[in-house]
């Protein structure tokens, strides 16, 4: 090695060799510590102010070549603190040297093993990089590339192959998008879109797609940026033109998609419905590369996820639903025999293709019943979902569940295809020991399958769903808690006594109280809903109240006294009304003056819904034909209920008025 380093001339020879021969590069980075020293030597030379610029440049080039090797190469270089050394190099006045350092940094930061945080460790780096953007087309290209690879935390599908879904927010400090934005990334990079160099334009475009993702602040800024007198969205639309390179069309479609989802462009804007959407559909075409088809489908799924009109347009564009069915035909049967390279390629992308297709199906069918029907009528659709649910790849399983969830919103499908294919079986399997992200969607699906009219309800119960759902309600994950309690609520609706008892037993009173004091209003609402469903039909009410009456009454009091919204209070009053419908359970209310005062209070509440709910309680309590009604009527008259009833019978609200009159009649009889 020493002799290699003797002259810069030899160095340049080495750099050429390394760049062209991956094999050689890999050998340079041997586990042998002796050889790791080579990198250290190069770094040392690089950092020596006294070395000639030429030598230092060559060092950076060689290091860049080394970084092109395996991930282990990059790791070793990172261990040698190559990044601070290279960043230091950027302060040099020599452009050639700066470019070499940037090229090497680019290679290192684009590696999946490099933590993005390293770019942000020193606060002076980003401003310096922004300043370097004006130096040359190479600095522009490399810096944009570095930015777009170091801004990925919030990106769930920007690069279909590398990143898996990520948590939405970074743990501490402002996220990378904000840092870059605050340093003027938008202004500094926007004009690069009109660069004469294709690579620069492309990297700038990628940078914007990364910056705009789920970021309203950046997106709102982008729509108003002018480049050469044209607004940025118009420039993106021009880049969507069909004769532009596919990579450019796809990336600018992503930019527009992200800006749209971040609320900066309306979903009915022509640049979305007539440009972005059709471009993304075209990316799903058979003629495109597998990678492009994956990215196209994922981006389209994201674009249309929440807008039913976009879903409708996509569903009729270029036979998209049928086109997606091709995504399941990899590896194709021919390729296995004829072309081993092709088979390898197919296999690599098969999972990605399937998960992308499921994702897009899920978005397409999210709201429109007709589209769901069309999807299910696609050849082998249900079989494909069922297979997808048991695939080894978690990504495929997740999106298969998503797809199933989307389709499970259809009552008709629940009763037909879902039943025919016994989808509940693989679904229950998915729910065992799955990671949270899968569990969230799978349990949502289960909620739908447990609806009263679903024929899958019975077999799901028999396969131990109650236990599973009860355990979900204890999860740290809010979405899982909601889904767990929601599913239980659905399950309890018009259920037989045994199931209700099982639910109560499985949940335990402590857990029930835990849920009633949950910080999330959704959990609270569903728990109240569960209670309400449990407390229906008289024998069930008496039964449950005889065993859990005390706790339930406590909980109800607590909620009625607490700071809750109207819906929660209404739901609680409805529970009271149900309790009042019981035979023995009535006494729990009649003997509780505190509760009676509360009912009285809500009868005169300003909100009609709450008044009505309170009225239900009263009617149930004073109903004539039941035993002891006389005593209850008297007691209620004593606390002033009748006066209120008279007032309410004059109410302008017809419901209230009716209800009050009926109640008063009970007194007359």
């Amino acid at each position: 090695m020493a002799c290699v380093l003797e002259t810069p001339l030899r160095m340049s020879v080495l750099s050429e060799v390394t760049a062209s021969s991956r094999h050689y590069v890999d050998r340079l980075y041997d586990p042998d510590p002796q050889k790791v020293l080579q990198g250290v030597m190069l770094l040392y030379l690089l950092q020596q102010e006294t070395s000639s610029t030429e030598l230092r440049t060559e060092c950076a080039v060689v290091l860049g070549s080394l970084a092109m090797g395996t991930e282990n190469n990059v790791k070793s270089l990172l261990d040698c603190h190559i990044i601070p050394a290279l960043l230091q190099g950027l302060l040099s006045p020599e452009l050639k040297f700066i470019e070499a350092c940037l090229r090497c940094l680019r290679t290192i930061f684009t590696s999946p093993v490099t933590p993005e945080e390293l770019l942000y460790a020193d606060a002076t780096v980003i401003p310096h990089l922004m300043a370097l953007l004006s130096r040359s087309r190479y600095t522009q290209e490399y810096i944009c590339q570095i930015f777009s690879h170091c801004c990925k935390l919030r990106h769930w599908h920007s690069c279909g192959f590398k990143s898996s879904p990520q948590p939405l927010l970074c743990a501490n400090g402002p996220d990378h998008q904000t840092i870059l934005f605050n340093h003027g990334a938008v202004q500094n990079i926007a004009h690069l879109l009109s660069s004469t160099s294709y690579k620069v334009r492309m990297q700038a475009l990628k940078c914007f797609s990364v910056l705009a993702f789920e970021n309203p602040q950046v997106s709102m800024t982008l729509v108003n940026v002018l480049v050469d007198g044209e607004l940025l969205p118009q420039i993106f639309v021009k880049m969507l033109q069909r004769d532009k390179p596919i990579e450019m069309q796809l990336t600018s479609a992503k930019c527009l998609t992200y800006m749209c989802r971040a609320g900066a462009i309306r979903t009915d804007d022509n640049c979305i419905i007539l440009k972005t959407l059709p471009t993304l559909v075209r990316m799903c075409n058979k003629e495109r590369l597998l990678e492009e088809r994956v990215e196209g489908a994922e981006t389209l799924a994201y674009l249309i996820e929440t807008d039913v009109e976009l879903q409708r347009i996509a569903s009729i564009t270029d036979h998209l639903i049928a086109m997606l069915s091709d995504y399941f035909k990899y590896p194709s049967s021919v390729s296995a025999i004829t072309d081993i390279k092709r088979l390898d390629h197919d296999l690599k992308h098969a999972h990605e293709l399937r998960q992308a297709a499921f994702k897009l199906y899920a978005s397409l069918g999210a709201n429109d019943e007709d589209i769901r029907k069309k999807i299910i009528e696609t050849e082998n659709m249900m079989d494909r979902i069922v297979n997808g649910l048991s695939e080894s790849s978690i990504k495929v399983r997740l999106s298969a569940v998503r797809c199933l969830h989307s389709l499970s919103r259809s009552v008709q499908q629940l009763r037909t295809s879902f039943q025919d294919h016994a989808v509940w079986k693989p679904l229950m399997k998915v729910l065992q020991n799955a990671p949270d992200e899968v569990l969230v969607v799978a349990s949502s699906t289960l909620c739908n399958l447990l609806l009263e009219f679903s024929p899958s309800k019975e077999p799901i119960l028999e396969s131990g769903a109650i236990e599973l759902l009860c355990s979900l309600t204890q999860s740290e994950n809010l979405a899982l808690r909601v889904n767990g309690i929601w599913a239980l609520m659905n399950m309890a609706f018009q259920a037989e006594q045994k199931i209700k008892a099982d639910i109560l037993r499985g949940l335990s009173t402590e857990q029930l109280f835990q849920l009633l004091s949950d910080s999330d209003v959704n959990v609270l609402m569903k728990t109240l809903g569960l209670l309400r469903n449990l407390l229906s039909t008289r024998p069930h009410i008496d039964q449950i109240m005889s065993t859990h009456g005390k706790q339930i009454m406590q909980a109800v009091t607590l909620i009625l006294e607490g700071e809750h919204n109207i819906e929660v209070k209404e739901q609680t009053l409805c529970i009271l009304a149900n309790i009042a419908d019981g035979t023995t359970a009535k006494e729990l209310i009649m003997t509780n003056d505190d509760i009676l005062q509360k009912i009285k209070y809500y009868m005169s509440h300003s909100n009609a819904k709450l008044q009505l709910a309170a009225m239900f309680c009263i009617s149930n309590l004073i109903w004539n034909e039941e035993e002891g009604s006389q005593e209850r009527q008297d007691k209620l008259r004593d606390i002033g209920i009748v006066d209120i009833l008279h007032k309410l019978s004059q109410s302008s609200d017809p419901n209230l008025c009716d209800k009050a009159k009926t109640a008063l009649q009970q007194y007359l009889a």
Binding site: K275, I316, T317
Partner: protein, 459 residues
């Protein structure tokens, strides 16, 4: 007309009531969404890959049909009384971005060209380019240039020089509108070629007929100087070149100058003229008979001369041999246009007869006072030439039809031939053939495909 598009043969449609596509069939295939009042439906036929897709409100619905025929017309079918449809053929911007679609195809085709595999021939660019240039020169008969090119690049030319020259000469004849001569020359130089290529022969003959109407086939040299139509014809008629003359006279060794013309021009291609006048008697009947049954050995030059000949004896002779109907009409024609006949006869194939022509034309001008185109000074001579040809044209119609019939018998019905024939004869129906709906046939540019076809056939 009372059936919806797509239900019948060669008809394709997308129906709004069920969203199905109909491909020449009463039963549709599920295709797209339904559409109704207020929707904008677009239809794009891609003539590159012969597919078609529809759009609804600017959204492409995907390919509906493949392997479409080329001659399609836009149609809209309406079922309910009082329905109104706005048709937009591009006078307003389309909702669907068709420009963008075309851009993609342009890029696609450019890409195909750019990526065209060179394979093993890589590195032989020089040779390939030379070969390309050389074969172009040879194909189009640029004999001297090709030889010079071959000499400089040290390559060889496959075809013999004389062959190139012959082809060149025949091509020039066709391009000058002198199809009759071209046919004759072809038969002399490449015996059997036209006999084995009846379709080509038919094409040539149709062209010849058109040229007669144009006045170029018979009078090209006489009129080229003054007629605006003939001016378009290719200059430097090969027949003027001495080489041509000699070869021609060699071919028509039997030819002698007719008594009237011979003295005028010893150097001109009198041989042709004489051949005509001499042979016509024997050949013309042969051709007419070909229409009845037997195939004529060499109908081309015979037609030509026959059609130009207005000598009463000749036609009488002719009519006596041909069937009654033919002779009848022929007689009629000749009677009608006798003055033209004179003109034509005298002008036929005279190189140096220009002054004569002038004279005749002038007399004709006066004699044809009633001509509808009298006012047009420049056009008149042309018209006269055309008129003259019309006279003979009817004669030509017989052989043309005859050959057509023969071809029909041999190869089954040929709609292309029928159309060709119909178009050619339609010229007769107009008083001013150049300004009629089928008048574009007379454009000299139309000679080029005929010329190319003949040249390719010889090669």
């Amino acid at each position: 007309m009372n059936r919806l598009p797509g239900w019948d043969k060669h008809s394709y449609g997308y129906h709004g009531d069920d969203g199905h596509s109909f491909c020449s069939s009463g039963t549709g295939q599920p295709y797209g969404p339904t559409f109704t009042t207020g929707d904008v439906i677009g239809c794009c036929v891609n003539l590159i890959n012969n597919t078609c897709f529809y759009t609804k409100n600017g959204h492409s619905l995907g390919i509906a049909f493949t392997d479409l025929p080329t001659n399609l017309y836009p149609t809209v079918g309406l079922q309910t009384p009082g329905e109104i449809v706005d048709a937009n053929f591009g006078q307003q911007p389309f909702v669907f971005d068709i420009e963008d679609y075309m851009r993609e195809w342009r890029a696609k085709i450019q890409g195909t060209i750019k990526r065209f595999p060179i394979g093993d021939r890589l590195g032989e660019w020089q040779a390939m380019l030379q070969n390309m240039v050389s074969s172009y020169l040879v194909h189009h008969g640029y004999c001297a240039t090709a030889t010079a090119f071959a000499r400089v690049t040290e390559t060889t030319i496959q075809e013999e020089q004389t062959s190139i020259k012959n082809r060149q000469r025949i091509q020039k004849l066709v391009l000058a509108g002198r199809v009759g001569e071209a046919i004759e020359a072809t038969q002399q130089l490449y015996p059997g070629l036209l006999e084995h290529n009846p379709n080509l022969l038919f094409l040539l003959m149709c062209r010849q007929f058109v040229e007669m109407v144009n006045g170029t086939d018979s009078e090209v040299r006489c009129f080229s100087a003054r007629s605006p139509k003939s001016q378009d014809s290719y200059p430097a008629s090969p027949s003027l070149s001495p080489r041509h003359c000699s070869s021609n006279s060699h071919i028509h060794s039997t030819g002698k100058c007719s008594s009237r013309q011979g003295a005028d021009s010893p150097s001109c291609s009198n041989g042709v003229t004489s051949t005509r006048s001499k042979q016509s008697h024997s050949k013309y009947p042969a051709l007419t008979s070909s229409s009845s049954s037997s195939s004529s050995s060499s109908p081309s030059s015979a037609n030509y001369s026959e059609s130009n000949s207005t000598d009463s004896t000749k036609s009488q002779q002719h009519s006596s041999t041909s069937n009654q109907e033919t002779s009848d009409s022929e007689m009629e024609m000749e009677a009608e246009h006798y003055p033209n006949g004179v003109l034509e006869n005298s002008s036929t194939r005279i190189m140096n007869g220009t002054y004569k022509q002038e004279e005749i034309l002038q007399t004709d001008e006066s004699s044809m006072g009633q001509s509808p185109l009298q006012g047009c000074q420049i056009k008149r001579p042309v018209l006269l030439g055309g008129w003259a040809s019309v006279c003979s044209g009817l004669g030509g119609s017989r052989w043309g039809e005859g050959l057509g019939e023969q071809l029909c018998r041999e190869y089954g019905k040929n709609t292309t031939h029928k159309k060709m024939l119909q178009d050619a004869f339609s010229l007769l129906a107009y008083s001013d053939p150049w300004n009629c709906p089928v008048g574009q046939q007379l454009d000299p540019i139309q000679r080029e495909p005929v010329c190319a076809a003949l040249n390719s056939a010889i090669l």
